[in-house]
Point group: C2
Chain length 346, copies 2
DNA sequence: CTGAAAGCGCTTACAG
DNA sequence: CTGAAAGCGCTTACAG
């Protein structure tokens, strides 16, 4: 009854190579602690040598606990969701976890989520702005299951965090504007309840402080990450007697709004006003002129998050130290920035 | 060595209930043709009665062919990708298929794709605008593997197609504008190489024909589904001596561009110009004013597509008739439409 | 057209 | 700390 000829290396092959039983190999790959160190390393060496990787179907059939990773999402990040899912789907199939996605809103009860996390999920990945919800903060600090927060500037006890350096990115963007010759650079702040807002603001201030004595407070407006709020903030900024030659908006939606505000005033971007955003959302490249902005490696973050959750889950006995991963960002230069124009006459 | 007590019904239970061997049950659920009809129905009845559903891990371990469904994607639909993936991920885990996503560009060779489809994938789902690529058309008409085209207006031999009725939706949108009192309704056409463009255009023409003798040709501009092209087209439309009171753009990006063009001319939307889009992309709700537009049930389409591919794959001996599924669309009324203003003075 | 039985590659209770 | 062995729930070659 020979079926397909064996081609892949199995746990039994490893056991033979290491001179132990297959039960022992199983214990090693599952991180059970009752294995002598010497044995463990012998097995690990064999695994390495044979390039063994366990058959997922067999593990599950044999009663291994299936791993379900939940990716939370909510409305505001819908543009962002595509990339997130892209990375997460790929990585999940790599690590043999199944991915579930769950919609949540600001109001979700901690109770509801905790129940899910305890009974249905083996780990969660939390992108912004959800990671700043109170209920999530509470939930995650339980530390009951592996959790990773994406792009959150908060430190949460017992949660892994992955983010780009928002402070640095904002500083670099501002410095780029300065290098082009701008001095009157306005800033539109992000939503006060989202943790990245402050980091970006601080980066702007840091860069400005290097070239001006005091940052003009009338060059700073509060925004809420929406197109409308960016449009309104820019309208105020541009209505001043001494208007800025550049506007740095904390995200792309607001930057697009700022362009609209400039258009309404008959100002041409970038000739008479430079505008930069943040996030490289789809809007950044569809608006006219396309926005210079900061790109986060969203898909890669999601993929890495999946791997981290998986590793944490597998690493039953191991160290439970929360990781703090820094991802690289990129400044995407498009067409919304130019050297400052002679004072716009209006 | 009793392990967890059995809770779920297995193939063996079904076999007992039906009075056949488990091999026979296996044959039935796998659609093998050499089973007597009487036996088959007895088994199916038992499956139904016991609410049996096969254990995926066991199937795979036992050598069942794993099903990999590939979802193709490309740049332009990146906003759309999130919803697509959302639906696809959920449905894939439901039907026990693994989902892989692959990036393709207009230039992909049929050869490359055919190779993948033959060797790595068991079915593909093709969203727009990819479904209009030549290489895809060729590939899919091979009929070698289950394929479903999303939102394509083309008929492709041997491929399933799911779409909303673009013609009807466009007609309804136009009729809504007409009901508000508009008569001078301009239309910005979509990319000439995408198959939905024509359906939407025809819907517009159909509705207009009911209220005007001849549709003014100077009210129709060519666009390319980009913000920029919408902006340019609208600028031309609005520069006419007898400008339209409303613009219907074939997608949201162009509609957003049209708003920008209006803003530049000092026209206020919707007071002096109504604008509607199509797709309900993220931009539709972030631009100001938010766009009235047509929403496609993208996630549901993707989910349904996954189920169809799965069914086709399983249904080894069954009928191979390509399906033609019509999904419902919705008109989302937001704030970019109003009754026509007195002739704008300019 | 159908059944008996081996085997897929693991995990884990049991027994040292 | 380790091994022998049963069992997870299917599929399929073989033998009628």
């Amino acid at each position: 009854m020979q079926k397909r000829q064996r081609k892949v290396v199995t746990l039994v092959d490893v056991a033979q190579a290491a001179g132990v039983s297959s039960a022992t190999v199983s214990r090693v790959i599952n991180g059970h602690s009752q294995v002598r160190d010497a044995t463990r390393s012998r097995v690990n060496a064999a695994i390495e040598r044979l390039d063994f990787s366990p058959n997922l179907a067999a593990r599950m059939l044999a009663g291994a606990k299936e791993m379900r990773i939940c990716l939370l999402y909510t409305n505001p990040s819908s543009s962002y969701l595509g990339e997130l899912l892209l990375g997460a789907v790929t990585a999940s199939s790599e690590v043999g976890a199944s991915l579930v996605v769950e919609y949540v809103e600001e109001g979700v009860s901690t109770h509801y989520l905790r129940d899910k996390l305890l009974n249905q999920w083996d780990g969660i990945i939390v992108p912004p702005p959800i990671c700043d919800f109170n209920s999530i903060q509470e939930l995650v600090s339980d530390g009951s299951k592996p959790s990773v927060l994406l792009s959150s500037s908060m430190e949460v006890r017992r949660a892994h965090v992955m983010r780009i350096d928002d402070f640095l990115a904002a500083r670099q963007v501002t410095e780029m504007l300065i290098a082009k010759g701008h001095r009157e650079i306005a800033f539109i702040k992000g939503h006060p309840r989202q943790s990245v807002s402050e980091s970006r603001y601080n980066g702007y201030i840091e860069a400005m402080s290097q070239v001006v004595e005091n940052v003009r407070p009338d060059l700073i407006e509060q925004g809420f990450f929406t197109y409308r709020s960016g449009m309104d903030a820019a309208a105020k900024l541009l209505a001043q007697s001494d208007p800025p030659s550049a506007i740095f908006a904390s995200n792309d939606d607001m930057a697009a709004g700022a362009i609209a505000a400039a258009n309404k005033l008959g100002l041409s971007v970038p000739k008479e006003l430079s505008v930069v955003g943040f996030d490289d959302s789809p809007m950044a490249n569809s608006v006219w002129p396309p926005l210079t902005t900061v790109r986060q490696p969203v898909a890669e973050m999601a993929a890495e998050a999946v791997r981290i959750v998986r590793a944490d889950f597998d690493n039953v006995g191991g160290s439970k130290q929360p990781l703090n991963v820094d991802m690289d960002h990129f400044i995407v230069e498009r067409e919304s920035v130019a050297a400052p124009h002679l004072r716009p006459q209006r």
